[in-house]
């Protein structure tokens, strides 16, 4: 019971519940009685530990509560096993990936570097082969095969090309290959004038043919607006043509890109006008409205390389015509006055188009 009393005292001392004088007495006792002091120390330690222990327990409980609350919140987005794995190994994976990428592209790049000279060699090969092939290439004649067109006509034209007047008296020029093997030939212009023509002269070498209107109803074409140029035209000159690659007249423009034609043919120019079958025999004019050539063909498989016979050879052919009345008539009436120079292109074309015909060939 004494011990019990002592406990009561110690506790009230520790809890600061003692009255001042009682407290003083107890403290004196503490100083003199080491056993009591030890007991008080132990008691204090015990109570303190117990209290902190309790606090700690409740704190832990609180944290656990927070933790489970947090887990509930993130339960939806709970990391899948693969995600944990990924998080753990992301660095390794990244390093491995970059190393492999680096080596793959490095290898590709170095192989490319090694291959570069080899590729140059193959380029040589291709060029060499193309040159060989060039020899085999033939000039593709531009003849537009018309099979189903002009249904209403009793017999549709087999081929068509382009031709143009060389004087007012009904003489025209077209490419020889257009009228090759023709039974009958018809010409028609934009205005709808339609005439039957016959071939009066053919120059196989220069691929040129002279046609003459044989229609009895024909009187005259009217005064021609263009003249024929005898001198050679210069490289780079702007040139244009009109032709009938389809039912309607088509304008094509480009420049004179070479003074020689296919395989160094000096009787022709190379021009950079996109041409199509049906353009054959069309007039080639320069900026001032001088006729400088006759469209003849283009190189197969080659873009922008078309050819036109130089006008000088056309004139030469006219001069060489068998000395008959007809030839004299042509020579005499070749147009001398250019009505196109100094006008802009649409104006030129307006005047020009009546003298450019579609040549329809029947056989």
């Amino acid at each position: 019971m004494l011990e019990y009393r002592a406990y009561e005292q110690i506790e009230s001392y520790l809890n600061n519940e003692m009255a001042a004088d009682e407290r003083a007495a107890f403290e004196v006792l503490l100083r003199t009685d080491p056993r009591l002091a030890e007991q008080v120390r132990e008691h204090r330690k015990l109570l303190h530990t117990m209290r902190s222990f309790g606090q700690r327990q409740s704190l832990k409980q609180q944290l656990n509560l927070i933790h489970s609350e947090m887990e509930d919140e993130t339960a939806v987005a709970t990391p899948a096993p693969w995600k944990v794995f990924w998080n753990r190994h992301v660095q390794t994976v990244a390093v491995a990936a970059s190393v492999s990428l680096l080596s793959v592209f490095g290898t590709l790049w170095s192989v490319q570097q090694l291959k570069a000279p080899v590729r140059q060699q193959t380029a040589h090969y291709v060029e060499l082969r193309r040159e060989v092939e060039l020899l085999k290439k033939t000039q593709t004649a531009i003849i537009n095969g018309i099979n189903d067109a002009t249904k209403p006509a009793p017999r549709p034209a087999a081929f068509s090309g382009t031709g143009f007047a060389i004087n007012a008296d009904g003489y025209l020029v077209t490419s020889s290959h257009v009228v090759e093997g023709a039974d009958s030939v018809l010409i028609e212009n934009e205005a709808g004038q339609k005439y039957k023509v016959v071939e009066v002269y053919r120059d196989q070498i220069h691929d040129l043919s002279i046609l003459k209107v044989s229609d009895p109803a024909f009187t005259t074409f009217g005064k021609l607006p263009y003249t024929f140029k005898t001198a050679e035209s210069d490289l780079g000159e702007k040139v244009y043509t009109l032709g009938y690659p389809r039912e309607d007249i088509v304008f094509g423009e480009g420049s004179l890109s070479s003074a020689s034609g296919f395989e160094g043919d000096t009787t022709a120019y190379q021009i950079s006008i996109p041409l199509n079958p049906g353009n054959s025999g069309g007039p080639l004019l320069d900026d001032k409205g001088n006729l400088i050539g006759v469209i003849s063909g283009k190189q197969a498989g080659q873009e922008g390389a078309a050819f036109a016979i130089k006008s000088a050879y056309l004139l030469q052919m006219i001069n060489e015509l068998p000395q008959t009345d007809t030839s004299a008539a042509i020579a005499l009436t070749l147009p001398q006055k250019n009505a196109l120079s100094g006008q802009n292109r649409p104006q030129q074309l307006k005047k020009l188009k009546d003298y450019v015909f579609v040549v329809k060939v029947y056989n």
């Binding site: 011990e3 019990y4 406990y7 009561e8 132990e42 008691h43 330690k45 015990l46 109570l47 530990t49 117990m50 209290r51 902190s52 222990f53 309790g54 606090q55 700690r56 327990q57 704190l59 832990k60 609180q62 944290l63 656990n64 927070i66 933790h67 609350e69 947090m70 919140e73 944990v84 998080n87 753990r88």
Partner: protein, 190 residues
Amino acid sequence: MKKSLYETDEAILEGIRRDDERALAYLYKLYFPMISHFILSNSGTDDEAKDIYQEGVIVFYEKIKGNTLELSCQIKTYLYSVCRRLWLKRLAEKGRYAVKMEDSESFLPVEEDTQHHEEQERQFGIMGESLEQLGEPCRSLLEDYYIRMQNMQVITEKFGYTNSDTAKNQKYKCLQRLKKLFFATYKPEV
């Protein structure tokens, strides 16, 4: 819970000092992923991460409560340092001392704080065991009186003692036994 309330470290500290549970909860949720990642990437498990993190938070919390915290860095860094230290210790106990830690954050030396914590943990471990051995109703009696600070009158009624003197006598006997159990294993650090 409005997050903006605890945007800064100061706001969190202030909240904890005010016994605001939301501040603690906010802090807890804020940095758990960081520690979890650290533990997991240093051969730990989810449970160990939770354990270590809670200990870290307790160290931090009690330092604030005890007003002994001299925070010279961010809370984040402090928590990371403490948890890192605790985890190193845990690994050493498991005999798997990691030669190299995979650190994702900078850290400070916090040996003192963790040592104090470990000492406390030891005491609490003994206290827990002693209370366990004490058995009922002694344990509840003592806990009610000393930890939950319940009135002697309430305790008397709860445990069905005839009067508070009997209860007091009972309490004294229990305390006596606890004292013996506790000091039998507990030796203060020398």
